[in-house]
């Protein structure tokens, strides 16, 4: 199977997202999201996605802005963010290497890939390379067990991986 081409994520520096406002384009998207639901609160997950796509992570300033827009307390928004594994509360790398470590991928041999990534990048799970390029994450079942081992890089699934294939993929991601 041919592998996708993955674009780097935008990752805002902390000082850029101390306080944020939504520009007109974002505001239009927010209006479109709100129109799908009978309550404002239901727009929370989509709005968190919108902001994370824009800034790469959800700073306290972004949380406050979202809370104000949806009439929710920052504490409530934080509570929701921390429940879900895909929202990030600190800056991460431009490429998130999300390695599936659940049973089927383990049976298909994901461990050598993990060892390879660790030694090659010099980081462990949860860590980011010094150049801000890669963050290594272990994730639970990605739902593509028939094509294991699977690594999701940003939004894209890379399947049936070997160490050689992984090296080629990393080469292309700058």
């Amino acid at each position: 199977m041919s592998q996708p081409t993955t674009e780097p994520r935008a990752v805002a520096r902390p000082e850029e997202v101390e306080a944020v406002t939504f520009d007109d384009a974002m505001e239009r998207e927010i209006e479109a999201i709100l129109a799908r639901y009978p309550t404002k609160q239901a727009a929370l997950l989509p709005l968190l996605w919108l902001c994370q796509d824009r800034w790469g992570w959800l700073s306290p300033g972004i949380v406050t802005a979202i809370g104000q827009r949806l009439e929710l307390s920052p504490a409530f928004v934080e509570g929701v963010i921390t429940f879900y594994t895909m929202y990030h509360r600190e800056p991460r790398g431009r490429y998130l290497l999300q390695v599936c470590t659940t049973l089927s991928c383990q049976l298909c041999g994901v461990s050598p890939l993990v060892e390879h990534l660790r030694s090659k990048l010099g980081i462990d799970f949860g860590e980011t390379t010094d150049d801000g390029r890669f963050t290594l994450l272990d994730v639970q079942c990605l739902g593509a067990c028939g094509e294991g081992p699977v690594i999701q890089i940003n939004n894209d699934y890379y399947t049936d991986l070997t160490v050689e294939a992984l090296d080629e993929i990393l080469e292309r991601l700058s």
Binding site: A42, S104, D124, Q140, G148
Partner: protein, 437 residues
């Protein structure tokens, strides 16, 4: 047997509405809109269709629970939060034929009287969400969605709602909480979603595969569908096969096909000529079965009789090289990570069980550990928790000990650490206590 749900697999541009229409798509919708809604529900009841998400509840009966006299709006939600380890069939439907799902959703919304429907899709399925959005846009352009669909007077909008990484949101009330913009923690039932669901309104939550079965049932008739499979498990079922087989993947077969046929014929047997040791028939929450049960027919009743459940049809195959203590540890890592934390027996029990299995694997097992595991499994399942996640981690514990208890006992008796590299060990970002000695 001719495929029903995966009929378009291998066709060029199988996801486009042009291909779908050429395959006879949206004729069932025309037929359904000319029928009274009651009749659509009756047809689905008569077809014997049972939910494909894991529980196997009769779909038509579930629809029948929506109160007719409730003045609130009604909602249909498609559960595309496919997260059960070993399950990847809904992803296949979306990749091959998203319009089958969209048409199923339109017919089902018409049947229950919903004018808004949501697809709750797991956050990781970003590409699949795009595929579905493209199909939805095409359906709007052809007037299969929007106001006054095909001049029937029926209106429907479908919206996609992305999750953000939480297995528990596949549980229907957790899904509803998440859709409402909250932490995805399951609700107590009753009230059931059919009466008080999303936004406090009557709601039906159906799995992707279930909804995809609806157009063929309406198109070709309930009796035709009921004639496939076994008497009480009708129709075809998608099996996601992973692990130690030569050709893993999604296979559409009539319910009642044996696991031997699936593993050795469809999937080309086990690599390297090794022997089958165990298989999990219905996603990781289903009890594991030993190789001796491989002649069990894969239908809801037979699998239950064999001591497991058909669940989502996620078949995980393990050969004779697999250390079953290691496999259980892996599953418990999953469940302790995914427990939502709401109920004490599940939150604490899953962590505790993981600690116990870990220490057994590392050679620090205690003689009483198996009894401890059994006790955890007893007190965190069968109604002791709000949702079935308690059962989902207790059933593996019970079944692994039941069929492969000797492997645990041997490690405890040996009382020293395993030789390194016997099985890969992945450190887990756990913080789940220590495996004290």
């Amino acid at each position: 047997m001719e495929p029903i749900l995966l009929r378009a697999k291998g066709q060029k541009d199988s996801r486009s509405i042009t291909t779908y229409l050429a395959n006879g798509g949206y004729t069932a919708l025309k037929k359904a809109l000319a029928m009274p809604a009651e009749q659509v529900i009756k047809d689905v009841k008569d077809s014997g269709l049972r939910g494909r998400g894991g529980a196997g509840f009769p779909t038509g009966v579930k629809w029948g629970f929506v109160p007719k006299d409730n003045p609130n709006p009604k909602y249909l939600i498609c559960n595309a939060d496919e997260s059960e380890p070993g399950t990847f069939k809904d992803r296949e439907i979306i990749h091959v034929d998203p319009h089958l799902l969209i048409e199923g959703m339109i017919i089902s919304s018409y049947a229950i009287g919903a004018n808004v429907a949501y697809i709750y899709i797991r956050g990781e399925f970003w590409r699949e969400a795009q595929m579905l959005q493209q199909a939805i846009d095409e359906a709007y352009r052809k007037k299969y969605l929007g106001p006054n669909i095909l001049k029937s007077g029926f209106d429907l909008d479908i919206y996609i709602h992305r999750g953000a990484g939480a297995y528990i949101c596949g549980e229907e009330t957790a899904l509803i909480e998440s859709l409402e913009g909250k932490r995805g923690q399951p609700r107590l039932k009753p009230p059931f979603p059919a009466v008080v669901g999303v936004f406090g309104c009557p709601t039906v939550v159906n799995n992707v595969e279930t909804l995809a079965c609806v157009p063929p049932i309406i198109d070709r008739g309930a009796a035709w569908f009921a004639g496939i499979g076994t008497e009480r498990s009708t129709g075809t079922k998608l099996f996601s096969v992973s692990g130690h087989v030569n050709t893993p993947g999604v296979y559409e077969i009539p319910l009642g096909t044996t696991f031997r046929e699936i593993i050795y014929e469809l999937c080309g047997g086990i690599p390297g000529g090794r022997q089958l040791k165990a298989f999990i028939p219905g996603g990781s929450s289903a009890p594991v079965l030993p190789a001796s049960k491989v002649d069990t027919p894969a239908d809801f009743e037979s699998v239950a009789e064999a001591g497991s459940m058909l669940g989502s049809g996620g078949l995980i195959v393990m050969d004779d090289t697999v250390d079953m203590v290691w496999a259980l540890e892996n599953l418990l890592v999953f469940y302790s990570h995914e427990s939502c934390g709401q109920c004490t027996p599940c939150r604490e029990g899953s962590d505790w069980a993981l600690d116990v299995v870990r220490r057994i694997r590392r050679g620090y097992g205690r003689p009483e550990d198996l009894e401890t595991l059994q006790r955890i499994a007893r007190y965190a399942s069968q109604g002791m928790t709000i949702c079935p996640l308690g059962d989902a981690f207790c059933e593996p514990i019970r079944s692994f000990l039941n069929h492969f208890g000797h492997e645990f006992e041997a490690l405890i008796a040996e009382g020293k650490p395993l030789p390194p590299k016997k099985q890969p060990v992945l450190p887990v970002r756990s913080g789940h206590g220590t495996f004290g000695v």
